[in-house]
């Protein structure tokens, strides 16, 4: 009896018991979510038009064009929506930072190896976990990374070859498709699977709520906007060469409360003499 007790009663066993409780709780929560499934209501912010902001700097060599994409579709209840384009390309609209494995699988199915981590509010991945690289963009030039943030489908990924993009642009020039349709298909990141080397992949990570990088919001092409109190998300993406270390979640530099974020944005905007856009007002469509 005593021996039995000795065997079961040590640090490792006590730790195991606590960890198993934790896992069981998660398992139960996942099962509940699964059972609720489709009945989860779509938050209003996912149906609203987004604003898109790109981080400046080295990230986006030639992709200076920034487009607010249309998010008025009725597929907003899913974490992301996959659309196959007429010309053979694929567009993935990320509505909310959830279901990383699902998005990873969708990208991989479209020919893009991807590592995706969605984190809790206010968190980001520790930097420098992969070797940054560039790929040729089907739009011309090269692409290495960037940050997107906004209260809506901040990130839409277009997957197509340069030929497929050329064909869509031609259709637009001939007036067969609208500018909106052109923007919708190529998204705000456009990737050509044929340009990826065997050891290259796309790394995407982000979190719901405000962008940890305030400059993305304040310097974004849509101008400064206050953070949607109902949600929104920020996402970073980059091109990696070689293996990608697992994401180590760390506190984001500006991942504070919404109030803190909005105060900081308002101050920054006031300093520059500009008016911040508040959620609910029309962001308009921007391109160029």
């Amino acid at each position: 009896m005593t021996q039995q007790r000795r065997q079961d009663d040590n640090f490792e066993e006590r730790l195991l018991t606590r960890l198993k409780d934790e896992v069981a709780e998660r398992g139960a929560a996942a099962a509940r979510l699964e059972a609720e499934g489709a009945s989860i209501a779509t938050p209003a912010w996912r149906r609203r038009a987004p604003r898109v902001a790109f981080a400046g700097g080295a990230a986006l060599a030639t992709l200076a064009t920034v487009i607010a994409i249309n998010a008025g579709s009725d597929t907003g209840s899913k974490a992301f929506a996959v659309e196959t384009q007429d010309g053979g390309g694929t567009t993935i609209k990320v509505n909310s930072p959830e279901d990383a494995p699902g998005l990873e699988a969708a990208l991989e199915e479209a020919g893009i190896p991807a590592e995706i981590d969605w984190l809790p509010v206010g968190m980001t991945c520790r930097e420098a976990r992969y070797k940054p690289s560039t790929v040729k963009s089907p739009l011309g030039g090269s692409l290495s990374g960037g940050t997107m943030a906004g209260p809506g489908a901040a990130m839409t990924i277009g997957i197509m070859t340069a030929e497929q993009y050329g064909e869509i642009s031609e259709q637009y020039r001939r007036g067969e498709i609208s500018a909106d349709e052109l923007y919708d298909s190529k998204g705000n990141i456009t990737l050509d699977p044929t340009e990826f080397d065997a050891d290259q992949s796309v790394v995407i990570y982000g979190a719901p709520g405000a962008s940890p990088d305030l400059s993305v919001i304040v310097n974004g092409p849509t101008g400064p906007y206050t953070v949607d109190p109902e949600g929104g998300y920020e996402a970073h993406f980059g091109i990696a060469e070689g293996p990608v270390e697992p994401c180590e979640p760390v506190k984001a530099p500006h991942g504070g409360s919404l109030e803190e974020m909005n105060r900081a944005i308002a101050e920054e905007a006031a300093e520059r003499g500009i008016e911040p856009i508040t959620p609910g007002t029309s962001p308009g469509r921007r391109g160029g």
């Binding site: 006590r14 195991l16 606590r18 998660r26 697992p246």
Partner: protein, 210 residues
């Protein structure tokens, strides 16, 4: 799109893991299935404990870190992909990151914030057992400290190979490096460390900068 695993597939995973250990196919489920987690934990808890005491000479910190490493594994299992290495390699990758960042994190986030404090689970018998283990790993810790002046990338690979006795291939995967890059860095790290240790023995007042 992958749906959450069904009860049946989870059961089958547990059966498979009982026979062959928790492999890459079952690993992503350890955060959701307590039985599968137990198998995974029992398979690795000793190695993780040794990993920690080869780097940390404090019993309480070692216990906290062991708990944090497994908690992080539970947290990130759903993001595991087989190309990130075998389960053990993946777990070592997590352990390495957490131990390396331990000092910084401890300043910022303390007792109350931690979800699960390993050190709170220690009793007197554990303490004696853990101390013996910590003593036995003294030499490894000495080596670990001697690596302090190596660049991070070189240090990482040397650490995994020399202290944790991973193969070069495993170590490269755990550190997220190409095996070829890892080989070059390991070579450089060994050379530098040898020089460093030799000069340290010869002349303690050597002020040479690295």
């Amino acid at each position: 799109m992958p749906n959450p695993p069904s009860a049946l597939s989870r059961r089958l995973s547990v059966v498979a893991a009982r026979e062959r250990g928790v492999g890459p196919e079952q690993l992503s489920l350890i955060g959701l299935d307590a039985d599968l987690f137990e198998l995974f934990y029992r398979e690795h808890v000793e190695a993780v404990g040794s990993f920690v005491v080869r780097r940390v000479g404090d019993r309480e910190r070692a216990a906290d870190l062991t708990a944090e490493i497994f908690l992080a594994a539970v947290d990130s299992a759903h993001n595991y992909r087989p190309r990130r290495g075998a389960p053990r390699t993946w777990l070592f990758g997590i352990a390495r990151t957490l131990v390396a960042n331990d000092g910084r994190r401890r300043n910022r986030q303390r007792a109350g914030e931690a979800r699960l404090r390993g050190s709170a689970l220690l009793d007197e018998d554990d303490a004696a057992r853990m101390d013996a283990r910590i003593d036995a790993a003294a030499r490894s810790r000495q080596l670990y400290r001697a690596m302090d002046r190596l660049p991070k990338s070189e240090r990482t690979i040397l650490e995994l190979v020399a202290i944790d006795e991973l193969s070069l291939k495993e170590a490269a995967a755990a550190a997220g490096m190409h095996p070829a890059t890892a080989r070059v860095r390991l070579h450089r790290a060994r050379r530098k460390l040898r020089t460093e240790l030799e000069s340290a023995t010869r002349e303690t007042s050597n002020e040479e900068d690295l």
